[in-house]
Subunit: 346 residues, 2 copies
Amino acid sequence: MAPITNGRTLYNEIPTGFPEPGKTTVYDTSLTIDLENVPLNGGVLVKTLVLSADPYMRVQMRPVDIESYMPPFIPGQPIFSLGVGKVVRSDRDGFKPEDYVYGLLDHAQYCLANPDAPVFGIRVFVPEPGLRYSAYVGAAGMPGQTSYYGWKEYANAKPGETVFVSGGAGPVGSIVIQLAKRDGLKVIASAGTDEKVKFCKEVGADVAFNYKTTNTLDVLKKEGPLNIYWDNVGGTTLDAAIANAANHARFVECGAISQYNSKEGVNMKNLDQIYARRIILYGFLISDLAPKWEAEFYKIIPKKLASGEIKFSEDITYGLENSGQAIRDVQIGTNTGKKVIVVAQE
Amino acid sequence: MAPITNGRTLYNEIPTGFPEPGKTTVYDTSLTIDLENVPLNGGVLVKTLVLSADPYMRVQMRPVDIESYMPPFIPGQPIFSLGVGKVVRSDRDGFKPEDYVYGLLDHAQYCLANPDAPVFGIRVFVPEPGLRYSAYVGAAGMPGQTSYYGWKEYANAKPGETVFVSGGAGPVGSIVIQLAKRDGLKVIASAGTDEKVKFCKEVGADVAFNYKTTNTLDVLKKEGPLNIYWDNVGGTTLDAAIANAANHARFVECGAISQYNSKEGVNMKNLDQIYARRIILYGFLISDLAPKWEAEFYKIIPKKLASGEIKFSEDITYGLENSGQAIRDVQIGTNTGKKVIVVAQE
């Protein structure tokens, strides 16, 4: 088989605000790949099926000498994110052609994927019957794990308590809402469009509101106080949650999408209530919690997703050439449901 | 014995910024008290010896319908704080004349003190030989307990780790410095005057700096990263500590003196690092931890204070008529050492 074009989305430069396709990232078709003969050097050649666009990717668009929890993107090289692919050829025990793999993949139609990456090295998985494999970058993957691990580890939920979930329609928030309802809590959820608010209610939120048209402080004052706050957004929403926290509230600090695209900082008025109300804020990343919760997660959650007992939604972008736009959409929040980039059919 | 004047410091009005003696509080000598005949109604008549002026008292100067962890001051009534007194007469088992008591006392020369107050009801204590009783509102009292309980419960300190203590020269911070050194940590401390910086070093801080003349971010960048941050001040210092936190840092959120006298809020730039670095922030009050740690504290700490093994310092204001000024001094930070108001000699 002759070499074929290997489309790739390359990282170009650090954005000043929201990432812009064509500027922050550039789609490139200048390279070809010879699938039969490209040297594997102990690695695994993967055909990319779906890629994930996640909020944290903005954190990877930074000067390469600044450390953070995910490695930075390198100018001129493909961006990378979690994805699902199929093994084409393998030089590694445990990986064979046609296996599904999940883990960090380059935004390329084909890539040599790394099982040994320090975070999210690829691993083989068998999709749950009835569950489409794209779910494995969403509710059955990192976002779902984030919800499950964080909730289990930190929420210390008691029936009758009240939880507020910001970013409630996202792949993390929507699972948190459902875990909280299963534990017998009253759930307040916020989201940035009326369509997202509707989805929050569909998955069980008792109260859901559009934070762009409704005052968060007012809602929380009326519906709180909060025993638990699941924070996907940071910023003034965090401040409002602190102002309406119950004594001994638990705050699960999961993300801060409101802050990723700005260097302005945020005016916080209620931080002194952290000690006054004895709030504990748990910053966490799933990589730390995986050893404790991963096996349980895979045993329980994919089945519930396949049966519909736990709901999830996807917002699909077709074509790798559009991955830059998909990434931007997630930063701005115009996606409805887990943003998935479909790169190829099987 | 004829009735005598009972001087009192009355609460007058909510300050807009720092409390002002004569405006926020007013010293009043209009009442007399008949020590022999004043009805006790099951209570305890106490002669006030020393009173404490603490940062949290600013939190009590608020509208009475706003809840917080300490009850609000009531306009027209005496302010109150922790203090040491001597029992004059008692209508209560367990309290007899000449007993020393510690707990919430009115800012009055004599008061009917309450053993049943929900927080800090008075209790009898026997001063450790060699330890002046004023220490029982400082290093041997609430501030020392705050340090001890919080450190034991949340610091999870390991030898060789680095801790940053803001408000390092205060009665809480200076004990934290010493507990940290005993646990084998590197200690960075900040304070607001050169004299306070000197005291931080005297009690063992490896690095101490005046945050008004030295950039906190620069010091922490050079001397960090921080495994533990003991936060007495909040605000931009907290932001700087977050920016220089190690992964899995523990933040002990003890106070926020930088915020009590302002409604401006504070511009925070690094809150997203709470999750990125997996920081846990523990808001706490000693009342929650007392059942677990109080007995151990009283068994260990007063002896070490009496022997000089643990150092403390006091900044004394003489005369109840000056308690309003003492309270202001603590808010501004012009005191050096634990602010104690000496109301009477024994």
